[in-house]
Amino acid sequence: MTLYHYLILSAILFVIGMYGLLTRRNAVGVLMSIELMFNAANINFVAFSKFITPNEFIGQIFSIFVITIAAAEAAVGLAIVLLIYRNYKGIEVDNINFMKW
């Protein structure tokens, strides 16, 4: 296992997340895709921390912070989705277009 394996894994995860973000119609699906993108960055951080700076733990600490922030973001996101559900009776993002793009 070299650094490149991890980088390729994270790139694939990031692209899947990006694809989901653009194509998912369900707001919860969109949130999950964003979560994938955060985790792709996390894999990068941990891999770089292991291979580039093995004696310091900056990358690992960074990923711990990212995990908690992503959770906070997901909690706020789900709360807003709940609000949308109450107001629109559905969470299909296509239907939420009260304002024109």
Partner: protein
Amino acid sequence: MPSDYAYVGLFLIFGVAFVLITFFFARLLRPSRPNPIKNRSYECGETAVGSAWVQYNVSYYIYALIFVIFDVELVFLFPWAAAYRSLGLFAFVEMFIFIMILVFGLAYAWRKGALKWV
């Protein structure tokens, strides 16, 4: 380098043009006869019935949200606990402050009635 970005721009133009031309020819060639059965959403050949969204009690979600936050904050405690002996008093005080902030959050949720089961 500006010249490197020129390639990107070239790709962009080709990409957009390719899609537009394909769509244009497809529009020229295809027959267009929509009917209600064709336009219905595909559900493995079955007739689509009802909504996929069933209502749960709202307080269930609020519990879940609070749990997500407090559960994940725990991750900060592990590195601190692992290195507790070498960190000393200062880290202990810092962690105490951190936990007090979390306690404030919990007290806030409690006071706002988010922990009440209805």
